[in-house]
């Protein structure tokens, strides 16, 4: 098992190197004056020249790259122009907000999509199957920011069930003492049920928005892989041996059908991390996505670069976890390593 983990981590290293090189290239190699980007739109030529020397942009590229990697290894992502705060600190303090939102969205999507996909496969050709097909096709056609706004209109303006789409907590509440950074968990640890309720209410609509978005690919792949497993010989044998349909589906077919679903989760994460940015903008969610959007609008480049790098590293780690989970579920993947 340790050997497997080591070999999987080794396969992630080229991606990591590629990601660092690309984020470096995005500012330094492409046409356009990096110093001007870092200086912002209103800078004088002297200010730009000063920043160029300060950032070491007048040195040769390989030296710059070594400087960049050295700074990175110390966790230094530069400083934001508009706030003056180090980007790394800012991202670290905003990451839990984004993570709480993304994870809730993913968990809700999985909780709906997997049973739904299984039902569609088991009852192929019935209304469940057709509903599954319609929802998966519609789900991939919905712009996530548009779904969010529709839900805000219906549940906040029309029905009044949801609170105003303004961040993680109602203004009358203070954030619970930080343990995990997830308000839902922290408020429970603090035993503050009122804050928990407020945090959950704020989280509900953005979570549903993300879940609707992530649901479609998961349900589609669950249905497809369940269908192919159900028509395989070992399922036929299990049925012929007189096992109950429940046991055949949930014990024999389900575990095998989950393998392609886990592989697809990598792609789902890629979509989710992008959709997260849009959802955060719609709901004024104080996560790293809205941080990057604010920085983009004011041409404040260091936070954007830090954001892209942080998201890419997070994505690589998530893919690594998916790979390892695959190994846990599928013994064949373990023996190949």
């Amino acid at each position: 098992m340790l050997k497997l983990i080591a070999s999987r981590i080794a396969t992630a290293i080229p991606s990591l190197i590629g990601v660092v090189i690309v984020t470096f290239m995005l500012t330094r190699v492409l046409p356009g004056d990096a110093a001007a980007y870092f200086a912002g739109p209103a800078a004088t030529p002297q200010a730009i020249a000063e920043i160029r020397t300060k950032l070491g942009l007048d040195k040769p590229l390989p030296v710059q790259f070594v400087d960049y990697v050295t700074a990175l290894s110390k966790g230094d992502l530069g400083s934001s122009l508009s706030t003056g705060q180090p980007v790394a600190t800012e991202i670290a303090s905003r990451l839990p907000a984004s993570a709480e939102l993304t994870l809730s969205g993913l968990i809700l999507a999985l909780a709906i999509a997997i049973p739904f996909g299984i039902m569609a496969a088991v009852k192929q050709g019935t209304w469940v199957d057709h509903a599954c097909r319609v929802i998966t096709t519609a789900g991939v056609s919905l712009p996530v920011f548009f779904t969010g706004l529709l839900l805000v209109y219906v549940f906040y303006f029309k029905l009044g069930w949801a609170p105003a789409p303004l961040g993680r907590l109602d203004v009358f509440f203070t954030a619970p003492p930080t343990v995990t950074g997830f308000y839902l968990i922290d408020s429970l640890i603090a035993g503050d049920l009122e804050t928990f309720r407020s945090a959950a209410a704020q989280l509900a609509i953005p979570t549903v928005t993300l879940a609707i978005f992530a649901l479609a690919p998961i349900a589609r792949i669950t249905r497809a892989s369940m269908l192919s497993v159900l028509s395989s010989e070992f399922v036929r044998t299990a049925r012929a041996a007189g096992l109950t349909p429940y046991k055949v589906i949930m014990v024999y077919a389900f575990r095998n059908a989950m393998l392609p679903v886990i592989t697809t989760l990598g792609m789902v994460f890629s979509f989710l991390l992008g959709a997260n940015v849009l959802v955060e903008k719609v709901f004024a969610w104080p996560g790293i996505g809205s941080y990057a959007v604010e920085a983009l609008i004011s041409s404040d480049y260091a936070p954007v670069q830090g954001f892209v790098l942080a998201m890419a590293i997070l994505y690589i780690i998530l893919n690594l976890v998916i790979d390892l989970a695959y190994g846990v579920i599928d013994p064949r993947a373990r023996s190949e390593a």
């Binding site: 984020t23 712009p143 991390l273 959709a275 903008k281 892209v308 994505y315």
Partner: protein
Amino acid sequence: MTLANPADRGSASSSSGLAATLRHAKYVISENPVTGLAFGMFLVLIVAAAIGPYIVPYDPLASDTKAALQAPSWAHWFGTDQLGRDMFSRVIVATRLDMGIAIFSVALVFAAGGIAGIAAGFFGGWTDRIVGRISDTIMAFPLFVLAMGIVAALGNTVTNIVIATAIINFPLYVRVARAEAAIRRQSGFIQAARLTGNSEWRILLTQILPNILPIMMVQMSLTMGYAILNAAGLSFIGLGVRPPTPEWGIMVAEGSAFIVSGEWWIALFPGLALMFAVFCFNLLGDGLRDIVDPQRRT
């Protein structure tokens, strides 16, 4: 349902190419009305993009503060926005820009990713390794995030949205083109072309490329929807297109401020237009796949 009618396929392969394809297309459309619907929707988009600016009732940029924030009515089918601009005219006129961004980015990635993928699959070796490494590096990023970074680095313009959208789709095209080219690399007609003295690049362009073109067309249609969503997402967060230019993503963003006070129409109609376009291309992609590759029908 899972396989096309065998008799139909038999006659299709025995007669000449174009007529057979058309007959098969007609068969697919009659068999699957959804594909027919998708073609109809596609036609609507094309007409709106081509002649939209000439037929809309109002100037999409003309503001009329007296008529600001009006709900949909007979005078203003989709209502008016905070400056009194007619939303119907703006939604229709925006079609050209949105479709333009998507079509240019897809054409760009079709050329770049298609050729790179074919070369990787056909030549193998170093070409394959380099192209594969570039694809892997792009895939290591969450794609929308990478697009944000590219637009931020290249500069905040519509052209760069096109380029960013093309770059994030690159690996998808490479994968399809590479797989299809690798299958055909050692097939009989390629060896025959090689024996008659064609150069490798000539074989690639005159034998392999036409052969995998249909499959690449399907890929184009399937990624058009994603390209539209991606471009609209970028302009929603304020990249690329600048107000007051009518564009669906930015119009939804402008309308988002009014959703909480109940003016739903400003965001709704551009959002519906986006959905319409994406839905159309997704259905069209599935339909085209049925025509090109009857065995892969789902």
